[in-house]
């Protein structure tokens, strides 16, 4: 009973301090709001309108139609025209354009011999008879852009020749579940919950203990009967609610603005976020017992935050990472939460079905709380 009252003392104190700290209180709302809108609109892996140049050596009606057909895909946007190859290369060097479309002089001959035209089928190994119609010169440093332009390699030319569309039978049929329209935002918004929670939750608690030390309150706190585990729990409780508010903002607005489906049940969503909020807060507390100043605690927060964004599967698929990076990713709560929240929000799975991720978050919280409580000593030694 007394123990509860002591935890309550810390909780009330934290809430009052948070209420008085207008800046922090504002950030609780503004961080998820701004970041959601920013990332929701900004992050898009379906690339369109890449600025490219044209080097038309043919200057025929055909070359102009070819250019228009390529432009009609919407993937590229012909912003510049060049007259020579060195000029085109220089333009790529100075990043004026990302790629140059080079139409050779003999484009009409090449087209005629191209299998798509259908004047008999020349042996495909015969370089002389079957050559590509035109060439793309691409700045390959950005793999995403390069990949997008590479996807033009087998662009159907049926339209160009006024023929019926591609009649080729696909080798495989691919059925896209959960995000059939392939909108990146559907994947990003649930991931954003993890990134924003990691950032705000760790930040709040990583400063929690250090701040008491820096402001000179610690000497008073340790002379009271307050136990370290009580202090830790008291520090965590208020922020669980803050985290819940942020989740509501992100998923609510994500649903409203970006039409992100929320397929899972509310109870599953609450359970998953609760587990992750606790794990993040505890991680912050551990940082707070290590850091000796608020600046240090901020630095450590950033140190944790970056891998949480880059390795957790938020930006790049976990499966694409080398094994070592996967181990690091597995250690971070954000990785497990991103799996859980995407599962719940997009695929309507039950948290208990994703046992490994759930157990990892619970274990992380308990061990972290223990470490923080042990590390925090009630003497000045």
């Amino acid at each position: 009973m007394k123990s509860l009252r002591r935890i309550q003392a810390i909780v009330y104190k934290e809430l009052i301090q948070l209420k008085r700290d207008k800046m922090t209180f504002g950030m609780v709302i503004m961080i998820p709001l701004v970041q959601l809108l920013l990332f929701g609109y900004a992050i898009n892996t379906n690339i369109r309108d890449i600025p490219v140049g044209l080097l038309d050596n043919s200057q025929t009606a055909l070359s102009r139609v070819l250019k228009q057909t390529v432009a009609a895909t919407g993937i590229v946007d012909f912003t510049h025209h060049y007259t020579s190859l060195p000029q085109a290369q220089a333009a790529i060097d100075r990043a004026e354009v990302r790629a140059v479309f080079i139409i050779p002089k003999d484009v009409s001959q090449r087209l005629v011999r191209h299998p798509v035209v259908g004047f008999g089928l020349p042996p495909s190994s015969d370089q002389e008879n079957s050559r590509p119609i035109a060439q793309w010169l691409v700045d390959g440093s950005d793999t995403v852009i390069a990949g997008t332009i590479k996807s033009l390699r087998n662009m159907p030319l049926a339209e160009l020749l006024d023929k019926p569309a591609n009649r080729n039978t696909a080798t495989f049929e691919v059925t896209l579940l959960y995000n059939p329209e392939q909108r990146s935002v559907v994947n990003i918004v649930p991931g954003l919950v993890a990134v924003i929670l990691t950032m705000t939750m760790i930040m709040f608690t990583s400063a929690a203990i250090v701040r008491e030390q820096e402001r000179g309150n610690m000497e008073m706190l340790i002379t009271t009967p307050l136990a370290s585990i009580e202090l830790m729990l008291g520090k965590i409780f208020p922020y669980i609610f803050i985290g819940a508010i942020q989740v509501v903002i992100i998923l609510g607005l994500g649903h409203l603005f970006f039409n992100v489906p929320i397929n899972g049940g509310l109870s599953q969503l609450t359970l998953a976020t609760f587990l992750f909020i606790c794990a993040s807060l505890v991680l912050g507390l551990v940082i707070s017992t290590i850091a000796t100043s608020q600046l240090q605690s901020m630095q450590m927060t950033v140190f944790i935050l970056l891998p949480s964004i880059l390795l957790s599967g938020f930006m790049f698929p976990y499966e694409g990472m080398p094994e070592v990076a996967q181990y690091i990713a597995e250690a971070m709560p954000a990785t497990h939460f991103i799996r859980l929240i995407r599962g719940v929000v997009l695929r309507d799975v039950e948290v208990v079905d994703m046992t490994f991720d759930m157990i990892w978050l619970i274990t992380f919280t308990i061990i972290g709380l223990f470490i923080a409580a042990v590390r925090f000593k009630k003497t000045l030694d």
């Binding site: 123990s3 009252r5 002591r6 309550q8 003392a9 810390i10 104190k13 000179g216 000497e219 009271t224």
Partner: protein, 313 residues
């Protein structure tokens, strides 16, 4: 009265190579105000932290209120109040919220909380300040709040670390009145200070320097047993005379107080005035008087390079 609140023997605390408190023997009787007098860095704060269980001793034994430290540090916490040198309650909480926080931390029931807080607010005249943020208050007001918070759980013993360093003289007087009230209610108080006038108010005091206890006893005992005579000289050429007197062998210290020189002469001389006259430094028309020693004189004779006895090692 004879029961001891603090009984420390050979108490030592090192921080690396530095010894902050060295072989300190201390006996504080219950229901008294005991003073620690010493310059900054003399080990007062470290000693208090040892007695409150915040630091573990490197050597020696401590018993506070019959509890052995550091073993019983947690039990002791409920029975002592500690007011730190720097205001250690929350600047961004109001006076009332700070009191409520403290009451909850000490596990008072809501009814007890209300009663005790009302009581303290009236004792320490915090009524008008109650809705004010603690950070915006003056030194004296913060002091009253800190004292109210540290006695909220009715401790048997109170430790005050330089409580009046940021308080004006009028508030200091009042503050000491409150301390005597507390003492009257049966609380033992240990207070550190570097003000002589405050030290003089204590029932007993210890003079600390470099972690070593140089002297202890009641202010009167200390003054009566002082190992030097105090001679006051009224002269016209004070600065000059002072410089010359400092070179005289049996003179412990010379200090100027307005138009007088206060000269401490070793006690072994029976007639210090004749001794001083013999030095032929002071014009004959100048008056000399043996006066009652002050606590400052005691402090000067037993600290610094003037001290009249060796460090015990």
């Amino acid at each position: 009265m004879s029961e001891l609140a603090i009984d420390a023997k050979e108490l030592t605390r090192d921080f690396g190579d530095v010894t902050a408190v060295s072989s300190l023997d201390l006996r504080v009787e219950k229901q008294t105000i005991y003073g620690f007098l010493g310059p900054n860095g003399s080990g007062k704060t470290t000693a208090i932290r040892l007695f409150t269980g915040l630091l573990k001793p490197s050597a020696g034994s401590i018993k506070v209120l019959g509890l052995t430290l550091p073993r019983d540090a947690n039990k002791l916490r409920l029975q002592i109040g500690y007011m730190t040198q720097k205001f250690s309650y929350y600047d961004d909480l109001t006076v009332k919220e700070n009191l409520q926080f403290t009451a909850r931390v000490y596990g008072l029931t809501p009814n007890e909380q209300k009663r005790r807080i009302d009581e303290l607010i009236s004792i320490y005249q915090l009524q008008k300040l109650s809705p004010q943020l603690s950070g915006s208050m003056s030194g004296g007001q913060k002091q009253r709040l800190a004292l109210a918070c540290s006695v909220l759980h009715k401790p048997k013993m109170l430790f005050l670390d330089e409580p009046t360093s940021a308080v004006d003289p009028e508030n200091r007087r009042e503050f000491w009145e409150q301390l005597f009230d507390l003492c009257d209610q049966g609380i033992t108080i240990l207070v550190s200070t570097h003000y002589m006038d405050e030290a003089e108010r204590c029932h007993k005091l210890a003079i600390l320097e470099n972690g070593v206890k140089r002297a202890d006893g009641s202010p009167n005992e200390l003054m009566n047993n002082m190992s030097a005579h105090v001679v006051e000289i009224a002269s016209n050429n004070l600065r000059n005379v002072k410089q010359q007197l400092l070179a005289v062998p049996k003179i412990v210290s010379v200090a100027q107080l307005g138009s007088h020189l206060r000269v401490l002469v070793q006690k072994e001389l029976d007639d210090p005035i004749t001794y001083l006259r013999k030095q032929n430094l002071i014009p004959n028309q100048d008056k000399m008087l043996i006066v009652r020693p002050s606590l400052e004189d005691v402090f000067v004779t037993c600290t610094g390079k003037n001290k009249l006895f060796e460090d015990k090692k």
